[in-house]
Symmetry: C2
């Protein structure tokens, strides 16, 4: 937790921004509850809601709060512990003390938020709330405001249509630009992420079960941080983006994609990807594709700076990728025409990167289209570009990922061939003959936009050039 004035400052900033947008009434925050893994009292490791962490910092379950936009009054709602809790969970500070530690003077019992909301509604005032991602929070909002839990859920891209636009936009505008203290926490997460990836690279040995590498990686972040910032992707099927099955032994000749990050104890995230040759050396064909992805990663970083949009960076990067694929005879024709036609999506059906902060896809539950797109930008419908989570014009303090990739997805290639999509540009024959068992490659770094350019957020860059990777693996 930061000093109390940090949170007080953020809250008054939020109120100011919301009022500038014409909002009145009260804003409410619902912190997370414990979540059962097996049964009610056997829970997953507690993860606080990120907006709550940003404005209130209290890392404990069953907290809520209200901010009065008109009077500036703030109140935290939670229940003090009883003697039974003291036996089972140890002595703990009172809610009043906890509230004071984050600069909030008023505290009430958890259920008292009902009264606050009822009073506001009865007086015809608006109650502002943010989209949620857990059933507990949705049910709590439903019981406070009426309606069914489903109405309060984030839908992902669009966020939640019923949520307060003023509140969402104000939160996004603040959390998009990281404070120095946040960057320091992200760097801690990056340091743990570096350790995780180093452990993974050292663990790549023929015959080892993937899960053993994953376990060793997660130990790094559990020992010093909260844990993983998302489910580790470690797979010899890199063409399957979110492959979370880890039961296979490492076999020779494959590419192992490791996409993993750490969450610091402060809950800031890191997110890196590297792709290793399972036997320690890339084949000629692997090296050709790898070199294109590596070049794209470096190129995207080199043009990342304030003033450019990340959509432009994405488009320039996939154009460069097509140049490389063209040289290999996998595509043909004019690169700009291919970009316009959506050819890149066949090879990289995802965006170049996303915001990162307290969430690994920062604020995704507030609505990707609001978080990642400026008011004058519209999300594309194309495969690949349409998945770009961060398209905005960059400003200093943005923290984004740079993660180009090339994948050969048989089901997708067959679909395009069958439907004749972009057939004038694509060498389906060569793809089918030579690349159906290739897998995929992705290379990802975390990047801070600075005053005059960009800086990679890692104490040291993980080995990335084919030669560096092979040298590191040979030495291990």
């Amino acid at each position: 937790m930061f000093e109390s004035n940090v949170y007080a400052g953020r809250r008054s900033g939020l109120i100011r921004r919301m009022k500038e947008k014409g909002a009145e009434g009260i804003a409410i925050f619902i912190g997370n509850a414990e979540t059962a893994a097996q049964y009610r009292d056997n829970c997953y490791k507690f993860r606080q809601e990120s907006n709550w962490l940003y404005y209130f910092g209290i890392d404990a379950p069953m907290y809520a709060a209200s901010l009065d936009l008109d009077s500036g009054e703030e109140c935290i709602y939670a229940d003090d512990v009883e003697i039974d809790d003291i036996i089972w969970n140890g002595p703990s500070p009172s809610v009043r003390e906890v509230a004071e530690s984050v600069g909030v003077k008023c505290s009430k019992e958890y259920a008292a938020l009902d009264e606050t909301v009822r009073t506001a509604l009865a007086a015809g005032r608006r109650v502002h709330w943010l989209p949620v991602s857990r059933w507990f929070n949705a049910s709590r909002l439903a019981s406070l405001l009426g309606g069914s839990p489903e109405q309060f859920f984030s839908e992902g891209k669009r966020g939640c249509p019923g949520a307060s636009r003023e509140m969402v936009e104000s939160v996004v505008s603040m959390r998009l630009v990281k404070e120095e203290r946040e960057i320091a926490e992200i760097e801690k997460a990056c340091e743990l992420g570096y350790e995780m990836h180093t452990t993974a690279r050292k663990g790549v040995k023929i015959g080892k079960i993937e899960q053993e590498i994953v376990g060793a990686m997660e130990a790094c972040t559990l020992a010093k941080g909260w844990g993983i910032s998302f489910a580790t992707i470690l797979t010899q099927h890199g063409e399957v983006f979110h492959c979370h099955s880890h039961e296979n032994p490492i076999v020779p000749g494959k590419l192992l994609v490791v996409d993993a990050g750490a969450e610091a104890n402060s809950h800031y995230a890191s997110d890196f990807t590297r792709t290793y040759p399972t036997g320690g050396r890339y084949t000629q064909k692997q090296r050709e594709i790898y070199s294109i992805v590596y070049d794209c990663n470096d190129y995207a970083f080199s043009i990342t700076r304030p003033g450019i949009t990340y959509r432009e960076v994405h488009l320039a990067t996939v154009a460069r990728m097509l140049e490389g694929l063209k040289a290999l005879g996998l595509v043909r024709g004019d690169v700009q025409e291919m970009v316009a036609a959506g050819v890149p999506g066949l090879f990289m059906p995802h965006g170049l990167g996303h915001n990162m902060g307290l969430d690994v896809h920062d604020m995704e539950d507030l609505g990707e289209d609001i978080v990642g797109y400026d008011a004058d930008q519209k999300r594309s419908g194309q495969l690949g570009l349409g998945s770009l989570r961060m398209a905005r014009r960059l400003v200093p303090g943005n923290v984004i990922t740079d993660e180009p990739g090339i994948y050969f997805i048989p089901a997708l290639i067959e679909l395009w061939r069958k439907e004749g999509i972009c057939k004038e540009f694509i060498n389906f024959e060569l793809l089918k003959k030579e690349y159906f068992d290739f897998g995929g490659i992705r290379l990802e770094d975390d990047v801070l936009v600075t005053e005059d350019g960009a800086r990679r957020l890692c104490p040291e860059r993980l080995p990335i050039s084919p030669d560096e990777v092979e040298a590191a693996m040979a030495a291990e």
Copy 2:
């Protein structure tokens, strides 16, 4: 997953038992959904619902099922994947194939369960369901059956009053008696638990941060199993039962309680506790208390056999504990009178053990009073005995924990002294003078009730006698 006939056999067993209790209509099962950790698409590691695992085995989210008690018809409800899912998550078998792999011939889309339930209700048939522990499952039942999600939650001890008594009792009667194949899986979890505890013991070094030991322990189970079976307790404040904060450095002269277990990939659990002297050697006072707890653990195991109730084992064990405490001058008077008066609860405010299986507190969400108590047994209101989760008359196949403990909880001792509880038996002066900074000790093994006695479920027993522990620590 086991062979398909295992699940088919269990389901027909369930139907038969429910019908023997006079039930008719249909029984429905709601498998778990993914649970957001940060935002909707960033989830905790998926954990399937245990009753679902027992009867259907399918370890994937968004499955449901119905069993027709009258016709014997079975149906599984889930949605096949689309092309987008194939890109992101890889190709996967169809729902029909998955259903067949667990012996179910009928499969329908997920939403079709609504129609099945509606039809049953319209025909005046009963719909049987089990209490749930997650908001998603509660909300799904509420949308199927009407009412609010809160009505479908397990309350812990009582289960859920609205749930089907026939279904709950039938499930409990089956899951209480472990099959050979289940015992084999529990032993795998025990093997991982053994590794975790060995790692912990080796990690006890002055100056190390507790979290570093926890991380290393969890790595053992993540590398070969699903993960931890419950949030690891590793604390120099053993008197706080569920202390999950691990930020303290190991300091000399303390007792470190390590209560942790593994969940195998099959989701069966283990659960062990050991208590280590932080400096490698117990002090005289620590050794005195430790020896009592150790003796109680061995004694409880020695009398565990078919025919005795675990309530009797608990009571005989705490009587033996009082003998030990009496010899140290901490209590005085007749031991049986003290047991009747509830004196043991001051030192061991929990029960001797619980059932263990797919859940670490097996089936706790079905209602502890049903799971752990025979029809002719009533739960005590006393501190300690009242927390006994397993009181039943033992039968071969029961898997239970044996976990006596002695704790010196200043807040509780002060409360009893202030209120004069059992004051004729308790030496409050000595407690306050000598034991307020002692902490606590717990020693726990996992035990299978066999045909003629009991067997500890671990390839090798973790070092437990004070001499064994000190020797092991000296060698590390």
